[in-house]
């Protein structure tokens, strides 16, 4: 009965953020693909070129935000998929922890790389 469903953690925020990040990602991802495969061919990417783009503050911020949203969106998506498959109890907590650490690491590393590219470090 009702007790079975007593985990009163509203999942609504995650759900909403997943949609909002998705909407944001549509734009940025399309832009990103276009930029690096059609405008500049990936094969022609050089460090200098990357540096030039990254030095533009707007581009830099967009990319960092891109990274953060994509990480959240992707990792949250993976987590949800696992919960959908019935993940619960301790394994669920463990997975949550691992995924959180992985995303923090990813965002940290990515931001660091971006800062380097922008020549700020």
């Amino acid at each position: 009965m009702a007790e079975r469903y007593s985990s009163f953690t509203p999942g609504g925020t995650g759900w909403l953020l997943q949609r909002i990040t998705a909407a944001f990602l549509v734009v940025v991802l399309a832009f990103h693909f276009f930029q690096l495969h059609f405008v500049n061919h990936a094969a022609d990417v050089t460090f200098a070129g990357t540096q030039a783009r990254m030095e533009n503050v707007g581009y830099f911020l967009t990319m960092v935000l891109f990274l953060i949203t994509a990480t959240f969106h992707g990792v949250n998506g993976v987590y949800n998929a696992l919960v959908n498959q019935g993940l619960s109890g301790t394994p669920k907590k463990v997975v949550f922890g691992v995924l959180t650490i992985a995303s923090v690491a990813l965002v940290a590393q990515g931001t660091y790389v971006a800062l380097v590219m922008a020549g700020m470090i």
Partner: protein, 143 residues
């Protein structure tokens, strides 16, 4: 129930032939989502070579001394397999985007009756866009 029979999930995936549009969309979306997040991790790993490049590390690429970042990327890009994988990635991303848009519509309660049609549309569009970008992706590979 102490005595009852659990048929487990056999009927889930051994019955793929009977799946309907919404189900396929879900499976594909899941699959493409996982590919994308996987790629994101690799992507950042590859780009991390920029750190070395900034510190002046270099490597040999096609007989030339270049910085590690340029070298890694261009080295990878010169491999056909990577180019093909990239087309795959594009397909994956495009489908995920299009179906993602479809899902956003569904969340807003728009066009629910046409959900199967919009799934087929996403599939077809994905195919078209992918095929159309093959030339762009494959230019100059390995030559």
């Amino acid at each position: 129930m102490s005595q009852s029979y659990n048929r487990g999930l056999i009927e889930d995936f051994s019955r793929w032939k009977e799946f309907s549009a919404g189900m396929w969309a879900w499976i594909f979306h899941k699959f493409t989502g996982w590919m994308l997040i996987g790629y994101l991790f690799t992507h950042i790993a590859v780009l991390s070579s920029a750190i070395g490049a900034a510190q002046g590390e270099t490597m040999m690429l096609a007989g030339e001394q270049v910085d590690v970042y340029t070298g890694t990327i261009q080295g990878l890009e010169s491999l056909l397999i990577i180019r093909v994988l990239e087309v795959g990635l594009l397909a994956v991303a495009v489908f995920h985007i299009l179906n993602g848009l479809r899902l956003l519509m569904v969340d807003l309660g728009i066009g629910l009756e046409a959900q199967d049609k919009s799934f087929y549309a996403s599939l077809i569009l994905t195919g078209v866009i992918t095929v159309a970008s093959v030339p762009t992706f494959l230019t100059g590979v390995g030559f």
